[in-house]
């Protein structure tokens, strides 16, 4: 992968000056490249990775598997596009394997998510079956450990 993208994926808050040092480029070059990546739509946004428990968030999150009937001519795209219009839906992916679409859905309570699945998703035309799995605890996200820093067990000074 492009080294700039790689760095931004690990820490999107690095300044252009820091990125320039790390990549052996000038600040202006970095600014230009980021601008290009953004206008081309390669970078779609910047976000934070949060330990929800420490943030005292009451949100619940669920992974939902959907089996759907693909439509003639447009396959899974049409139903995926309809589903992603809901604000509750965080991610939508087309999957290989036992089911077709994988969603992550967020809500204020278990009940709210369950209601969303039964009333909105299951009722949609083309949806054959759903399976809802609530997330109980997140250990790692985007390569970052959520709960604890790995402890450095190396000797502090070593020749």
């Amino acid at each position: 992968m492009n080294e700039l993208l790689h760095l931004l994926k690990t820490n999107a808050r690095l300044t252009n000056a820091q990125l320039a040092d790390m990549l052996g480029k000038t600040e202006q070059q970095v600014a230009d490249e980021i601008h290009t990546l953004e206008t081309k739509g390669i970078i779609r946004g910047y976000t934070a990775i949060i330990n929800e428990e420490l943030a005292k968030s009451t949100e619940v999150e669920a992974l939902i598997e959907l089996r759907v009937t693909p439509k003639r001519d447009c396959g899974f795209d049409e139903i995926a596009k309809t589903i992603m219009m809901y604000d509750e839906v965080e991610t939508v992916s087309l999957m290989s394997g036992m089911y077709d679409l994988a969603l992550t859905v967020k809500g204020e309570s278990l009940k709210e998510v369950a209601m969303f699945v039964s009333q909105r998703l299951s009722a949609m035309e083309g949806v054959l079956a759903t399976a809802t799995h609530f997330v109980l605890k997140r250990y790692k996200e985007k390569g970052i450990l959520i709960e604890e820093e790995e402890k450095d067990e190396r000797n502090m000074l070593f020749p």
Partner: protein, 392 residues
């Protein structure tokens, strides 16, 4: 009991490690940011660890052949042929050792007679001189210079050669300077050595950590393999320091003698580690690439950062260290390290721990996450503003 009469004078005369004092001092503080280690921050790639777990479950962990598992030696031979285009016979020319350290020890013991002089390129890793002394040899340092980017020059080498010179320790890519020797640099060195009877101990433990160009071994050069003992290992390249596994390669008449020492002092290198190392060589090239890419990003960041705040440093092309000058502070290396530790809680290693020619420099390791390095740089910047006259 009077232990002084009991302990060997050789051991008692051995200099204690130069960084012990800082280590003790740092250990009393709890918010220290260290840039002082000499080992990767990455974990050993999972496929290597998994292989070790499987071996523990399925195999009896018995001694291997003295020289190491035949399959591992074959893999080492294939790896070296691919990387440096040098052919070693796995049966007679390769010995698997307990880290690169043991390889250095038995290489020195194998060639040095009492009174022989051993040329040691400095600044360099701390073990060479004590090992030479234990073998009865005389360490002769060759100081490399910053203006030469700490490379060894033919002139510097020639000046130190005497009738008693037996061995040249050539440690590149270099700890602590990060210097490398390119093919062109080595040609000059080989030129000097070719008409002598001097052997080369080429410590290439950081061979995978080069940036911008591939590592070159002196053994690659015409007529040099026959006078080279090549030392390498798994610690740095595959992030396997604690597994204690390395190897040496030497012409058969040399290896044949060295394996005798290994046999008596070690018997055979750790068996689980040897199996895991086979996996490392066969399957983990992309892991090495991934780590080297990360090191390179950190390296560029640190070089820029230090030059900006007045701790000038050349752009090192190897290992995972930068070696900035602290001249702008007017302090000695040890003063600098002690004050930096006390005032800003950052631990770096004084350059003179690696030989007198390291005075005026400090070794900064970038075997740390970028976040860690950025915090350290901001502390060092604050320190320099106070002591070095650096102002943004």
């Amino acid at each position: 009991m009077n232990y002084e009469n009991i302990l060997s004078s050789c051991v008692q005369n051995m200099k204690p490690s130069g960084i012990r004092r800082f280590f003790d001092l740092a250990a009393t503080m709890d918010d220290v940011i260290s840039l002082g280690v000499g080992e990767p921050d990455f974990s050993t790639p999972w496929s290597i660890r998994k292989e070790a777990i499987d071996v523990l479950e399925k195999k009896k962990i018995v001694y291997t052949a003295n020289a190491g598992l035949a399959q591992l030696r074959e893999e080492v031979a294939a790896y070296l042929e691919k990387k440096i285009h040098v052919k070693y016979n796995p049966e007679h020319e390769i010995v698997i050792t307990v880290g690169g350290s043991e390889a250095i020890d038995i290489a020195v013991r194998g060639v040095v007679n009492p009174g022989d002089e051993v040329l040691i390129v400095e600044p360099s890793f701390v073990c060479y001189a004590p090992i030479v002394q234990m073998a009865g040899g005389i360490p002769v340092p060759i100081a490399t210079k910053q203006q030469n980017h700490f490379k060894l020059t033919a002139q510097e080498l020639r000046e130190k050669i005497t009738e008693k010179t037996k061995l040249l320790v050539l440690p590149f890519p270099n700890n602590p300077t990060g210097a490398i020797m390119t093919h062109e640099d080595l040609v000059q060195i080989a030129e000097v050595l070719r008409d002598t009877n001097i052997m080369v101990l080429s410590d290439e433990i950081y061979s995978e950590m080069t940036y911008g160009r591939k590592h070159c071994s002196i053994a690659e050069l015409e007529g040099m393999q026959e006078r080279t003992i090549l030392v390498n290992g798994f610690s740095k390249a595959f992030a396997m320091t604690g597994w204690r596994l390395g190897y040496l390669c030497a012409p058969e008449p040399v290896a044949k003698q060295l394996v005798k020492i290994h046999q008596y002092i070690i018997m055979s290198s750790p068996t689980v580690s040897q199996y895991a190392a086979i996996t490392a060589l066969k399957e983990c090239e992309h892991d090495v690439e991934r780590m080297v890419k990360e090191y390179n990003i950190r390296r560029r960041y640190l070089v820029e950062a230090f030059n900006r705040i007045g701790m000038t440093c050349f752009s090192p092309e190897g290992a995972f260290y930068v070696f900035p000058s602290i001249q702008c502070t007017g302090m000695s290396s040890e003063d600098f390290c002690e004050k930096l530790l006390e005032e800003e809680r950052v631990a770096v290693v004084p350059g003179n721990a690696f030989g007198e020619s390291g005075e005026g420099f400090v070794r900064v390791s970038y075997a740390y996450s970028l976040r860690h390095l950025m915090e350290a740089v901001s502390r060092i910047t604050r320190f320099l503003e106070k002591h070095g006259g650096y102002h943004e």
